[in-house]
Amino acid sequence: MARGAPALWSTLLGLPFVVVGGWLYVGQTTYPSVIGLPFAFFGAFVVGIGAYVHVVSPTEPRLSDGEELVEKRHPTQRVARVKIVVGLPLLVATIYLLFFTTVPYVYPTATFVVGLYAFSSGLYTYWTNSLTTYYVTTRRIIKEYRFLSLVRREIPREKIRGVQERKSAIEALVGLGNVLVASGGGRSLEIRMRNMERSESFADSIRNLVSES
């Protein structure tokens, strides 16, 4: 089961599309009813993927004898929330401009493109964050992601060659950071942990792990 309640939140985000699609299909006569279908299908898509994300998540890594879990983290959903909050008003504006005014189509198209990009990007970030987990154990660093297939990347403690922290100005303002763990074996053995709250303490726990080895 994924963390949080992606099924609930996805349903809350997808249902308005289904409702608008239903209204366009049966509740208005100005436009052909078929125009409600793309809205309804997109809403159903959001609800469906949310339900799938809710039930699919990586299993806990199996720890070997003597191995202990030091820290377990998920990317924060703050970035996803911001994107969705930015996108939703633009999509509402699109509905208004498209169906309740007769302004040239370029205006609803512009709000639709920007709004849908922000909203979709937010949803994607929300779902991937829900499916991503970072583990620090006494012997390795693990990043797990599962949507259809499982992707598990890990770096043994003794191969860690560097821990890098990165914060953009905006990330610093909102209290987020990225931690990059490099193995010295090239990019294929890097683990990039994004959008983490209290990234300093997480980086410190990795550094402590390295210094103990």
């Binding site: 006569t29 100005t30 436009y31 052909p32 009813s33 078929v34 125009i35 793309p38 809205f39 299908f41 997109f42 898509f45 993927i49 498209l98 169906f99 007769t102 302004v103 040239p104 189509y105 370029v106 609803p108 198209t109 639709f112 493109v113 849908l116 990009y117 909203f119 979709s120 949803l123 994607y124 779902w127 991937t128 499916l131 991503t132 992601y145 949507f147 259809l148 992707v151």
Partner: protein, 346 residues
């Protein structure tokens, strides 16, 4: 002396200029006349209705032209070369462009545009879709008919002949002489209502777009503040007031049949009621030339939405003038992008 010579030279130059200009205009006119080709086609109705003596309109820029179909639905007209043309259809009879007949063919319809190049062009068969009755009812807030209001219909900018439409005792729109209410339209349309003249109502024309998925009833409830529109399925079993029936209602489809290959009643450059959206004030009816007595002045702006601007001009981005294309395109791209990213991994 010197002054008279100057005057003489001026007059000679003036006369020469006028003659030269006339020659130039004549030459250009002949050149334009020779620069035309024949656009022809055959209109058939999906309902099986006979498309005979009906009116085919075309326009390019601000020039309109119309001809009638012969007994086989065939028409042809002379048009300038190398232009895009929009063709519209009016279910007409020999006396009017709005026939009081209900046969499943739309009263007004617009076909897809066509380009006519250097050669004569036969665009083949143009099919009229099945149409349904669209009743337009105009009421006061108390449910009584708003007598004196002037109803009208449009399809893609092409208007019905308002001089042939009136309200019956229940407020339903009737074609003069028809034994039924409403007009037959396919796909969609625009209802228009102009309230009675006077201080009680605003001097303007109210418009409302609607789609046609079956028998449709559009009700305009007009008061001093504006209009409230409602669109629903028409109940064809309910009596719809008294309609005026005269001997003229009989379709005279058999009269004035023309032979294939001729273009009967060709009225070159005759204007039609297609509204120019860019014109804020339109004298409808007058556009119909001598075929209608209506001379109402309205303050209507036709809402023909374009991509970059509203208006009659055809744009390269015309395909985007469809909310369905926009929404399907956007949502499909978005969903595909999300799935791709989710599958690819984080």
């Amino acid at each position: 002396m010197k002054r008279s010579a100057t005057r003489r030279n001026f007059l000679r130059a003036g006369v020469g200029g006028v003659l030269g200009g006339a020659s130039l205009v004549g030459g250009v006119s002949r050149a334009v006349a020779a620069d035309t080709v024949t656009l022809s086609g055959t209109v058939v109705a999906k309902s099986g209705a006979k498309v005979q003596n009906d009116e085919i309109n075309t326009h390019w820029e601000d020039v309109y032209r119309n001809v009638r179909t012969d007994g086989d639905g065939y028409f042809e007209m002379e048009v300038p070369k190398n232009r895009n043309y929009t063709l519209s259809y009016y279910k007409a009879d020999s006396r009017s462009d709005l026939e009081a007949a209900k046969n499943g063919a739309p009263h007004i319809y617009e076909f897809e545009g066509t380009f006519v190049g250097e050669e004569d062009k036969d665009i083949g068969e143009l099919v009229l879709p099945e149409a349904d009755i669209v009743d337009l009812r105009v009421l006061k807030p108390d449910g009584e008919p708003l007598m004196g209001a002037k109803p009208d219909y449009r399809y893609s900018g092409w208007g019905a002949n308002p001089g042939r439409l009136s309200l019956n005792t229940d407020g339903y729109t009737v074609i003069d002489g028809a034994s039924f209410t409403g007009l037959e339209l396919a796909d969609f349309g625009t209802a228009e209502v102009e309230p009675p003249a006077g201080d009680e109502y605003e001097d303007r024309t109210y418009k409302h777009q609607f789609s046609v998925d079956g028998p449709t009833e559009v009700v305009a409830t007009v008061d001093s503040d504006g209009v409230e529109w409602s669109v629903g399925e028409a109940d064809e079993t309910t009596p719809k007031g008294t309609t005026t029936t005269t001997d003229e209602t009989a379709s005279d489809a058999t009269s004035e049949t023309t032979n294939r290959g001729t273009t009967p009643e060709s009225t070159a450059d005759s204007p039609t009621t297609r509204e120019d959206p860019a014109t804020a004030t339109t004298q409808r009816g007058a556009q119909r030339g001598n075929r209608t007595n209506a001379t109402r002045t309205t303050t209507a702006v036709e809402s023909e939405r374009g991509f970059f601007s509203n208006g009659p001009g055809k744009s390269d981005l015309e395909m985007l003038n469809d909310p369905f294309v926009l929404t399907v395109g956007g949502f499909v791209l978005s969903a595909a992008g999300i799935v791709h990213q989710l599958v690819r991994g984080y």
